[in-house]
């Protein structure tokens, strides 16, 4: 259903060569709430993502090897993360602090999209996070539709990277899809119109996909 999926069918071998490896997205989720960690992990797994969940910003930095401790750094080759989703309100290092730290890094780490999750719809907070470079701001509780939308957006970004490499190598192949828009624009636009930033309302009717009766 996603544009990303269709494109990948055209360029399977090209994507395989990219550093992100297989088509599976690796998401690092950060939340101090045990309940929320369980839910976000399931949301991501059911959306076919590889998930690593940690309980604090400090742990997240340790996992990425960014905490300055040479001993804990595994080397970023084995810790390839395609997306970071972090709660805003956490004791010690907030999600905002974590966002800033990551955006201060050089090269690879700064490129990782960071999404902030918060139960509070505070415009100044949202603005601050977006200004600091957050990809999106999700209102909790996070829904399956939020995760799917995010995943599509990230996958399109990954495909575009693969595209660039493909186009550089062979002009004769048709590697420019008709529906490619700039990922950032469509994400911000879609986040403004959906539940992710301004409106916490969710669809009032949910129909089950399969009947178990």
């Amino acid at each position: 259903m996603a544009g990303g999926e269709v494109l990948r069918q055209n360029l399977p071998e090209k994507l395989e060569e990219s550093p992100s490896g297989a088509n599976e997205l690796h998401v690092l989720a950060v939340d101090d709430s045990l309940v929320d960690r369980k839910v976000i992990e399931r949301l991501l797994k059911i959306s076919s993502c590889k998930v690593t969940v940690v309980e604090s910003g400090t742990r997240a930095l340790q996992y990425l090897g960014l905490d300055g401790d040479k001993k804990s750094s595994i080397g970023f080759d084995s810790v390839k993360v395609n997306l970071i989703m972090t709660d805003y309100s956490m004791p010690g290092m907030t999600g905002y602090d974590l966002l800033k730290k990551i955006k201060q890094e050089s090269s690879v780490f700064r490129e990782i999209p960071v999404v902030i999750m918060s139960s509070e719809n505070i415009l100044t907070r949202i603005d601050r996070c977006l200004e600091e470079g957050a990809e999106d701001f999700l209102l909790k509780p996070v829904k399956l539709s939020d995760v799917r939308r995010l995943k599509d957006f990230i996958m399109r970004g990954e495909v575009k990277e693969g595209e660039k490499r493909c186009c550089k190598r062979s002009r004769s192949e048709d590697c420019s899809p008709s529906s490619m828009t700039h990922p950032c624009d469509s994400s911000l636009l879609s986040s403004l119109s959906s539940s992710s930033v301004l409106s916490p309302l969710s669809p009032s009717t949910l129909s089950s996909k399969k009947s178990r009766l």
Binding site: S33, L34, V35, D36, K38, V39, R42, L43, I46, S89, P91, S119, K140, P141, K143, L144, S202, S204, T205, L206, S207, S208, K210, S211, R212, L213
Partner: protein, 154 residues
């Protein structure tokens, strides 16, 4: 009671929980995340919520019992409880927490104590309801039936 009757009972009971506001849409979201590979997901998350809530309610009791109440701490605990109740769809608990936070801002101890009672009450109610629901589910599964899927548009 045969499986069909049990399933109808389950449906009626679940519907009543939504109509009476104990649960909201988020609970349905959780059910969507449950499948054959994770058949206990909802029970697991709700159990975590029960553990978490009981801890937080104890902490709130303690914090409000102090000579000089630290309202920042009280607010932080309520914020956590509000978050986790929201995450599982326990709407009335969440709403009680929202009211509670307003009184924390006002630094009104008496009002906060009343709110705490209210939150405890709502928590006990939803805990009983959910435990009843899970018992019904166990009975259905034990009788060889399957749990119906809920639709909110009733």
């Amino acid at each position: 009671m045969d499986v069909g009757q049990m399933q109808r009972q389950w449906l009626d009971y679940t519907r009543s929980l939504f109509i009476e506001g104990f649960l909201d849409n988020q609970f349905l979201q959780l059910q969507q995340l449950q499948d054959e590979n994770n058949p206990e997901f909802v029970v697991e998350v709700v159990s975590l919520f029960f553990d978490d809530s009981e801890r937080l309610l104890k902490d709130l009791n303690f914090a409000l019992d102090q000579q000089g109440v630290d309202f920042k701490k009280v607010d932080a605990h309520v914020h956590q409880l509000k978050g986790s109740s929201s995450s599982i769809g326990a709407q009335r608990v969440k709403n009680a927490c929202i009211a509670f936070r307003n009184f924390c801002e006002e630094q009104n101890v008496e009002a906060c104590l009343r709110c705490l009672q209210q939150v405890k009450q709502e928590y006990c109610l939803v805990k009983n309801k959910l435990e009843t629901l899970f018992r019904l589910e166990q009975q259905i599964v034990a009788a060889g039936g399957s749990i119906p899927m809920m639709e909110l548009g009733f």
